[in-house]
Structures are given as structure tokens and as C-alpha cells.
């Protein structure tokens, strides 16, 4: 633990200083508006998250027509919910079935479907996931608690700036009595990245 001499006042660390330098110059030159930055942070911290994607998945589970559209034109199907990417990226949805398990990675950096999942979890951005999801996906899945039968094919999709993937997990069995809203509660973030499966019952 570093001991700060009282002369240090409110000394800031390196990265916060670099951010303050950037922000103050960008504001002065008219490139960014501080209120707009606050609003963006609020949106991504509080309003956009995996619940968006869960609503899309639950709709696809109960509405075959919507599901067909989602699988053929995900960008527009998702737009019906008002979820739209700011980077002009296209969305593709990959359906998990008993024979095929899909999962998503971004080997280059951390491209991720923000409008439907919010911002990525820290492990998604880490070097081990970015490389091992491709080289040994079954081992990675096992570490996430997902064990697949040997005859299930694993497909790994590498996101890019232009193309983001969302996984449509399998609907759990014995959920015919549940409403769309109740079904959405079974859809976890990881099940939509493909590193998990949907829950069998509501989280307590």
C-alpha cells in the first residue's frame, strides 16, 4: 500500500490523468459534449444489458415466425425491439440445437453485440478466452460448466467490427406453461454468448 505524503493533495493516477487531458481538450475543441458523455455512460451502465437479448430470445422461443425472421435477418428483427447498434454493425443469430453448439468470441479485440447484451464481461476481453475459445472450445466450455456430448458439433464465431453474433440457446424442457416474460428470466448472458445454456428454472 502506497503512502501518500500530504503534499500530494488529490494526486491522480496515470490513466485518470490521461482521460482528463483527453476529455478537457476534446470538450474545448467541440468534439464531445460532457452531458452527452454522462448520458452514454448511464445508458451502458444502467439501461442496456443482457435483459435486452433475453427478451429477443424468449420471443423467438414462443413465436416461430419471429424466430424465422431472427435467423434470416437478425439486424431488422432485433430493431423491432428498438435495439439498434451505434456502430452500424450487422447482427447474426446462430441457433443452438442438440447437434450444434455455437459460441462467440472476438479474437482481435472484444467486438460484442452491445445493443442486446450491453458491455462484455471481463473474461470475454481476456487473452485466454480470446485464444482458447478457438483452439480448444470444448475445454473452455467445460470450464464454464457446459459439457456436450461427443457427437455435438461446436462452432465458434469470430466477431468483427461489422458483424456481431448472438446465440439463440435451446429452450429448456418442460417450460410449455411459462409466459414469454417468465421464459426471458431463464435466458442468461452466457447462454447468449454460447458459454452457457438457458436455466431450467427461474433464479431464486
Amino acid at each position: 500500500m502506497a503512502h501518500h505524503h500530504h503534499d500530494e493533495g488529490s494526486a491522480l493516477e496515470e490513466n485518470p490523468l490521461r482521460v482528463k487531458a483527453l476529455e478537457s481538450l476534446l470538450v474545448e475543441k467541440g468534439y464531445v459534449d460532457p452531458a452527452a458523455l454522462d448520458q452514454l455512460i448511464d445508458i451502458y451502465e444502467n439501461k442496456v444489458g443482457p435483459r435486452n437479448g433475453a427478451a429477443v430470445v424468449a420471443r423467438a422461443w414462443v413465436d416461430p415466425q419471429f424466430k424465422a425472421k431472427l435467423l434470416s435477418d437478425a439486424t431488422n428483427a432485433i430493431k423491432e425491439f428498438g435495439f439498434e447498434g451505434r456502430q452500424g454493425e450487422h447482427m447474426e443469430v446462430k441457433e443452438n440445437t442438440p447437434g450444434i453448439h455455437n459460441m462467440v468470441v472476438c479474437t482481435l479485440c472484444s467486438c460484442y453485440p452491445w445493443p442486446v447484451l450491453g458491455l462484455p464481461p471481463v473474461w470475454y476481453k481476456a487473452a485466454p478466452y480470446r485464444s482458447r475459445a478457438v483452439s480448444e472450445p470444448r475445454a473452455v466450455l467445460a470450464e464454464f460448466g457446459v459439457t456436450l456430448s461427443d457427437d455435438t458439433e461446436v462452432r465458434v464465431w469470430d466477431s468483427t467490427a461489422e458483424l456481431r453474433y448472438l446465440i439463440l440457446p435451446m429452450r429448456p424442457e418442460n417450460t410449455d406453461h411459462l409466459s414469454e416474460e417468465e421464459l426471458a428470466l431463464l435466458v442468461t448472458r452466457d447462454s447468449m454468448i454460447g458459454t452457457g445454456i438457458a436455466l431450467e428454472e427461474e433464479p431464486k
Binding site: D7, E8, G9, S10, A11, L12, N15, P16, L17, R18, V19, K20, A21, L22, E23, S24, L25, L26, K29, Y31, V32, D33, A36, L37, D38, L40, I41, Y44, E45, G49, P50, R86, Q87, G88, E89, L108, C109, S110, C111, G118, L119, P120, P121, V122, W123, Y124, K125, A126, A127, P128, Y129, R132, V140, F144, T160, A161, E162, T188, R189, D190
Partner: protein
């Protein structure tokens, strides 16, 4: 690879975002804002941050340094695509550093503040 639960300092919110410190959120928002202004394309963005990540000799084992790359990419694209040069950024950073050190705890840091 560690299982996600074992990663130190992983944010503990149920399954949401993921800024560990305020500067990460600010750097995030600046990049999104500058892209919306047309300062760079998102493809330029991912290529820039991807190159920085790939060039690091010590891979980021936990993902905790991600916004460090993010900040470096932001500085690089701002210096390349706006009149805000590296030199200007560095001078301004030093000015903030000086102001912060001259500010008593609990008071707002104001640029230009010097020790009295």
C-alpha cells in the same frame, strides 16, 4: 484459464457491465461519441485497439487491462484525426497532474490550480 468466478476483481453485478473505475467509463463514452461524430470509423477503431492488444508482449490474462488498450487507442486516433496532438495531450496531462497535487482532498480539481 481460470473459471470466470475465480478471476480477481471481476465486477460482481449479476451479469451487467463492467467498468471497474470511472475513467474506464469516460474513455468508453469518448470513443463512442467520437465515432458518432465521424472522427473515425468503427473498423478503424477495432483495427487500432486490436493492433495494440496484439503488440503487447504480456497478454492480458484477466481482461483487466482492456480499457488501458482502449485509452491508448483513443489517444492514437485523436492525435491522428484531430488537431489535438500527442504533445498537447501530454502538456494537458501534466497540467492536470499539477492541479490535482495542489488540490486538498475532497475539493474539486480545477485546472490551473497551483500550490499556494
Amino acid at each position: 484459464m481460470n473459471t470466470p468466478e475465480l478471476l480477481p476483481n471481476q465486477p460482481h453485478d449479476h451479469e451487467g457491465p463492467v467498468f471497474r473505475e470511472p475513467w474506464e467509463a469516460q474513455a468508453f463514452a469518448m470513443a463512442v461519441s467520437l465515432h458518432a461524430k465521424g472522427v473515425f470509423t468503427w473498423t478503424e477503431w477495432t483495427e487500432t485497439i486490436g493492433a495494440l492488444i496484439a503488440a503487447d508482449n504480456e497478454p492480458d490474462e484477466t481482461g483487466e487491462r482492456y480499457y488501458g488498450y482502449w485509452l491508448a487507442a483513443l489517444e492514437q486516433l485523436v492525435a491522428a484525426n484531430t488537431p489535438i496532438s500527442r504533445e498537447l495531450l501530454s502538456d494537458r496531462k501534466n497540467a492536470w497532474d499539477k492541479a490535482a497535487r495542489a488540490t486538498p482532498h475532497g475539493e474539486a480539481i480545477i485546472l490551473g490550480r497551483n500550490k499556494v
